[in-house]
Amino acid sequence: MAPSPCALCHTNRALILRPKDHSKLCKTCFISVFETEIHHTITMNALFKRGEKIAIGASGGKDSTVLASVLKTLNERYDYGLDLILLSIDEGIKGYRDDSLETVKRNAEQYGMDLTILGYDELYGWTMDQVVEQVGKKGNCTYCGVFRRQALDRGAARLGVKHVVTGHNADDVAETVLMNLLRGDLPRLSRTTSIITSTPSASSDPASNTNIKRSKPLKYAYEKEIVLYAHHKHLDYFSTECIYSPEAFRGSARALIKNLERVRPSAILDVVRSGEDMAKLVPGSDEGCGGACSSNVPIAEEEEGGCGSAAGRTVGGDMENMEKQLAQNDTAADNDLEIEITAKSLQKAKQHNRHDSAAVPLANGKKTKKGVTPRKTNKQVMGQCKICGYLSSQEVCKACVLLEGLNKGRPKNKIEVGYEVQDVQQRDQGADGVADVMQRTSIGGD
């Protein structure tokens, strides 16, 4: 085949075939177009505010490495005025995360960004290696996912950061849309397709229970192009599969997406857009406002993080959704929906409170059918975990429930996880022990 010239500069040899529009680009034009498109995603969705401090959830993998590199480039090129830092979670998996964290440390130097590493062992008293030793390889992703979500939030809150960006790409979103469709879980679509989501703050000060914003600047970027960008820019990233989820490699939704891409490359973005459109049509969905009202930002879905495991994204999600839904109702109530609170709904809330635990498994289904009222009724339930102080719909948050189970079964309590006593005390002082941990693990990147 004769080499084709670049469709943009018409000079250099085309090296890249773009999946979204089949255009053939040279390396230089591709890098420039890729960056410009992410700039457009950022500006069109007004993701950032000038002067904002942004924590990049960094795993050392391709997505977060490309995200950090592109954000640094764009921040300088377009003068966003952002303060960018890296936030990594160390799950404590030998031979997996310890290696990828080395990559993050190099990235911190390469990009001149501060890096904070938060460890599960310091946060929870358990590394994932120890969790797996206790619960086995099956179902350990649930622990990892629940722990990671809190860890990122706590990390962000402790650093005084209100906005965390993650490296989710178009393939990830398309995959999640398909999984929600296959499970018939349309209510969850808006949370998985929304470019901005929010998570409950880890702050134990009730006055500062503001939500931590999450966004996905790479949401419309193909995984293929992310890898090509990393390749052509010689970015330093780490790729391996979590040793505890070998089946993640063959996640069926993932395989389906990749097969579709081979036949019809535009399918990935088409699935993402279909997901967005369907989300708007779901009754009671968070995007009922068409995604236009900023006060109605959906609660973040438990996804990615570091494992990229299909199992990690689904297992435990239903339980978790209840909590997120409640947190989200809380947000809605705090904003423009305040006027809807009536004596009647508060009454209902009390009733709801009583059989709340029984209602949990049905939460997803119920929410859509009941329409408007549950938004208010649930507000009463939202509070803080009485053990760790984390914003939670239950008396005890999910991480603490999991920890309780782990600690009961622990053969020898060699790590002092006296967190029940310790944390309750610290909560009153407005610190849950994370601050100390953070200071110890914080690494200056410059």
Binding site: M1, P3, S4, R13, A14, L15, I16, L17, K24, K27, S59, G60, G61, K62, D63, S64, T65, S100, G167, D171, E223, K224, I226, V227, L228, H231, H232, Y237, F238, S239, T240, E241, C242, A248, F249, R254, A255, K258, N259, E261, R262, E304, G306, C307, G308, S309
Partner: protein, 107 residues
């Protein structure tokens, strides 16, 4: 063993694929110039050759699916996307640099 008709090429694995090839990222290979039927060696033949002769891992399906490179693995022929070069029909040339990059692995 080497034959005048062998084609010297460089093969590179990345994005996690190197795990299947004995954790070695770069290989300098001599690829037979003709495939099993005597036709000039193309990428399809190269992939079969890699599976049979070079791959250390028994999990062939992580590299090849339905007789071609598994979807989600990018193939770069001298840095260019193989889709620009005729995919597996591309006839391997002397000193070609062919790279297989997995997009499937997480961080």
């Amino acid at each position: 063993m080497s034959n005048e008709d062998d084609v010297p090429i460089t093969i590179e694995f990345s994005g996690g694929l190197e795990i299947l090839f004995g954790d070695q990222k770069k290989y300098s290979l001599l690829l037979p110039a003709k495939d099993e039927s005597g036709a000039p060696a193309n990428v399809a033949f190269l992939v079969r050759h890699l599976c049979d002769k070079v791959m250390k891992d028994p999990r062939k399906e992580l590299f090849v699916l339905d007789d071609t490179v598994r979807p989600g693995i990018l193939v770069l022929i001298n840095e260019a996307d193989w889709e620009l070069e005729g995919e597996d029909k591309y006839e391997v040339q002397k000193d070609d640099h062919i790279m297989f990059v997995s997009t499937l692995h997480g961080g």
